[in-house]
Symmetry: C2
Subunit: 301 residues, 2 copies
């Protein structure tokens, strides 16, 4: 089934213990759509500047991603500069230039109006709400957000949360949104705000899925090297929503499988800078790592 991603497209400059890169393709809509393209057909609504050219669009086309919703406007594309040190669990932002993203107003092409699955990347909650309202035929919509909106625009965020079925956030954000440090209690509070499916992303510790019927934990795949954690959360979301859209199945068992695919795809994302590894995947590699996570977690009842 069709899947639409709304979010950012950016040029990222990143320093990690494994090296530095300058102005490589990034942003939530990029990581999400490249990932989900391994599962289903994906379209993107985002904004880029005049410095975003044929070469960059070609990356999306390679993965058959529909970019008719990517608006190209005068000005420069969103730029982010960040650094990871030590255990690399946290990015330190060195510079943010919103540029054309500052005045981003998502416009949904008519061809996208019958989309069935939606991912609302981390943008202003009021814009997320407008997109959600413009799409009447959704089977499920997922939302990402961040501390900045949880603290700064709690009423707007509350409005859009009422309209989505799935929320994907990290541990700190879950604690902030709920006002609860205990994750189980935090989840129960958040599941009453709208999204009955809550995925709490825990970085190198994997993720916990709070579904209507049960709770499920999936570990992160153990890697020899984590090169660049940028985009891992959006990549998890791409695997999760990609699998749900591919199958059209929102059962408890399939939500669990979707979370495993999220972890699988996140583990590929961090192996290289940007979307490099995500572009060079095969379906066999994805299935193989899914089985590896099964081996990593299996024990006799």
């Amino acid at each position: 089934m069709s899947l639409l991603a709304v979010g950012s497209i950016a040029f990222d400059s990143i320093r990690t213990p494994y090296g530095n890169v300058e102005e490589i393709l990034g942003g939530s809509a990029t990581f999400f759509s490249v990932t989900a393209s391994w599962f289903t057909s994906v379209s993107v609504v985002a904004v880029v500047g005049e410095d975003f050219g044929e070469k960059e669009f070609q990356i999306f086309r390679e993965r058959s991603i529909d970019t008719r919703g990517v608006e190209r406007v005068p000005g420069r594309t969103f730029r982010w500069m960040g650094e990871y040190t030590g255990d690399m669990s946290q990015a330190h932002t060195l510079d943010t230039q919103l540029n054309v993203f500052q005045s981003f107003v998502p416009k949904i092409p008519a061809a996208y109006l019958d989309t069935q699955f939606l991912f609302l990347g981390n943008i202003v909650p009021t814009l997320q709400l407008n997109v959600r309202r413009a799409l009447p035929n959704l089977r499920a919509s997922a939302l990402d957000t961040m501390n900045y909106w949880i603290n700064g625009m709690p009423e707007d965020l509350a409005e859009v949360l009422k309209t989505v079925e799935i929320l994907l956030i990290n541990e700190g954000e879950a604690r902030m949104l709920s006002g609860q440090s205990n994750l189980k209690k935090a989840a129960a509070i958040i599941q009453k705000l709208g999204p009955t499916v809550l995925v709490i992303k825990r970085g190198e510790h994997g993720a916990t899925l709070f579904a209507p019927e049960s709770v499920f934990t999936v570990p992160a795949y153990l890697l020899d090297e984590v090169c660049d954690p940028t985009g891992a959360g959006d990549t998890f979301a791409g695997g999760f929503m990609g699998h749900l859209a591919r199958t059209g199945d929102l059962s408890d068992a399939n939500l669990r499988r979707a979370a495993v695919y999220g972890s699988v795809m996140g583990s590929f994302a961090v192996e290289e800078f940007g979307v490099g590894r995500l572009l060079r995947l095969t379906l066999a590699q994805i299935e193989s790592r899914y089985r590896e996570i099964k081996k990593l977690t299996h024990f006799d009842a």
Copy 2:
């Protein structure tokens, strides 16, 4: 099969957001032995002071723990005072009084010499080595240690590590011991130091078992309230070693089951201050929580 624990017995004073307690029974040998007593017969080698009386010994007797190896000497019992705040993932030590523990020299009663499973709690590495050498008939021995010995007595620690099959440490300790921040690489380095079975404890994120044949992750059971994390690591070790000693089975599949029992028992430990909850368990409750962790981690292949 028989299981011997060597470690500390202490009086703990603890402050958490859930309350304060003064001078309750604690220490690595206490948490370990009370836990393992649900799985097999356990004996303890430790030292206490004159302030350790019939009431305290009675707690061990209630669980049929053999305390003939608990030496009572002039002076006061080891005391520890600590505080947990915020997400409670770290204890802040407020006061430590080693007292009789300062000059602890483990003495193994003759009746214990044929013990088959051994847990060396976190004490001076040279003392751990002496105990290990005094027990020729072991099927498997496990060791805990800490940053203090990793940094302060690396050569002594290296000696005892060569003699044990199992090492249980936390993430930070694994990184320090190996000099590697990546956990998979850290594990590979540590497994060459002696212990072919490495359990890396990750607190609220569960644990990862690096066994000779495979890697396994088990989550922490999700609780509504974590009252007091003190002793959770020794309790994990008690469930892990208790199950191994009960079954006498060191296969890959059984090491995985043992890690799940470790997580199960750790989750009970933190529900109340001290060993309170661990004393009031039933085997049915233990099995029920084991099945809960199965549900928490199961997904279709």
